[in-house]
């Protein structure tokens, strides 16, 4: 049944309840922690550690070096990376009144780190970095979403084009396999595709933002209605309405019609060929409507799925302009995995065996 594993029972809670039932103490108080955060007890911690050590082993073996960045950064510095990513977090002041923010992802801090610490590095040599750390995002109360989460991921700097992306996707698939997953897949799209098509099809510029907003909110019914309102040619209309529904094997690249689509899809074609050469194309779902919420992606974007979890386990993409915003332009792509969600998928996988 689809519900299996989607619910996230608070592991350990059952045992504690039983025990506290026996020794109920009237003076015992429950001191709360903020919604969306959690305490992790030894049994679960051991399992989380087992997962992260396997993910880390794969990254290390592939020549990636671990980095650590501060959880707190200057808000104005994070904001250079991405308005929304920096603005979403929690803020405080230091003793001089400067605004500090809790990072909401690891990619922006690493872009800052690369631009400032590796500014002298030869542009020709790719830089391979991985990390394990916590990040924080604002979530609505009682939605079951995590406000504090543990991420493990990697960034490949200075490896442009499909080869770089293929390396990252291959490593993510391998790392999750080592962590005990078997049914995980990667959804792959092009974050700039829809925008490119709007321009190529000469859709009036003042409607672009509205259409992209509907696409990123995944409101396909609303998107179709707005495309209809534009009175485009039947071919253009069909392409813009059908595109977000095109997902599957390489055949979807041919199902997007017209010369505009042909050109815009060239990047995905080349990447798919690179994935085929690595023998992992069958683990990848091409998804022409995929967009990631963060604004710094410039090309390929991907998400990681497992049938046991209703949310993406992680994702990433190519962000060729982000490091340049910190003053040292370098191409880059990466992927991040949510360790607690990987854990849910891994326990579900164990139960199947």
């Amino acid at each position: 049944m689809a519900a299996a594993g989607a619910a996230q029972p608070d592991r350990g809670a059952a045992q504690t309840d039983r025990r506290s039932g026996e020794h109920r103490n009237e003076n015992l108080m429950m001191y709360p922690i903020p919604p969306g955060t959690r305490d992790v007890l030894p049994d679960e911690m051991a399992e989380l550690r087992a997962i992260t050590s396997r993910l880390r082993a794969v990254f290390e073996h592939a020549g990636y070096g671990e980095v650590w960045t501060p959880a707190l950064e200057y808000e104005e510095v994070l904001r250079i990376g991405d308005e929304r990513a920096a603005g979403a977090g929690y803020r405080t002041f230091d003793e001089q009144g400067r605004v500090l923010a809790l990072r909401s992802d690891m990619t922006i801090p690493i872009a800052r780190l690369v631009a400032t610490r590796f500014a002298e590095a030869h542009a020709g040599d790719p830089l391979r970095l991985f990390y394990e750390g916590r990040a924080w995002r604002v979530v609505a109360d009682a939605t079951g979403q995590q406000r504090e989460f543990l991420q493990c991921g990697m960034e490949l700097i200075g490896a442009p084009g499909a080869e770089g992306e293929a390396e990252v996707i291959a490593l993510a698939l391998r790392a999750l396999g080592e962590a005990g997953l078997a049914r995980h897949r990667v959804g792959l799209g092009d974050g700039a595709l829809y925008r490119t098509l709007l321009t190529a099809l000469e859709v009036p510029e003042d409607s672009h933002a509205d259409l992209l907003e509907h696409l990123s909110r995944r409101d396909l019914a609303g998107l179709a209605r707005r495309v209809d309102d534009l009175a485009l040619t039947p071919d253009a209309r069909r392409l813009l309405v059908d595109l977000p529904e095109l997902r599957g094997g390489p055949e979807v690249l041919d199902r997007a019609h017209g010369p505009a689509a042909g050109e815009a899809l060239e990047g995905l074609r080349v990447l798919h060929a690179a994935l085929e050469r690595r023998g992992i194309a069958d683990r990848v779902i091409l998804d022409l409507g995929l967009v990631r919420e963060l604004g710094y992606y410039t090309g390929a974007v991907y998400e990681v799925y497992d049938p046991a979890v209703g949310f993406a386990l992680g994702g990433g993409g190519r962000y060729d302009e982000l490091i340049g915003r910190f003053g040292a332009p370098r191409t880059a792509c990466g992927v991040t995995l949510d360790v607690q969600r990987v854990h849910i998928a891994q326990t579900a996988e164990e139960r199947l065996r």
């Binding site: 979530v139 209703g310 949310f311």
Partner: protein, 210 residues
Amino acid sequence: MSAPLTLAVPRGALLQGSLDLLDRLGIDTSEVRCNDRKLLFEDAGIVTMRPSDVPTYVEHGAADLGITGKDVLLEAPERDVYELLDLGFGRCAMVVAARSGDDAMGESLRRLGRVRIATKYPAIASAHFAATGRQAEIVVVKGSVELAPLTGLVDGIVDLTATGRTLVENGLEVVEEIVDCTARLIANPVAHKLKAEAIDAVVQRIRSRA
């Protein structure tokens, strides 16, 4: 290998329309129709719930697809689900209504610089008054919203109305229409990729019958 889909079906005003649609898709809904206490129908792949819970189950992947009103989706914009189709049935209007005959809202705005609004839809109501440049104090109520302006609790209400009859019977009238709401087909983002074929088959069948 494609697993069967689990579908979240709303109880209440959208139930009939949803079941009729599923019948036309060839899904056996007879058990759901004759049993209004049971919630989980595993053979048909159907779970039934309040319309406002449908996005929650679908977002978490406890159901792959769901049917709910546009009003519910507008009220919970943080829910990460695909909105695949406008199903067309269950048409209602989200409106601002106030007591007939006097201009309580206008009076309140002129004298006090704000209106007091009772609603079950605080997100939609706040967004509407913000977008129209008026300050509003939103009072959330759970039961019959129509009571609130009659007792002087508020100047007006934001609520969903199909025929407007309940409003009229309580001496209220529609003063502004905010948005039309119909039933929508929504999907879990992961299922949308991993069960693409099964979901597309449902979407195609609904489209071809529209």
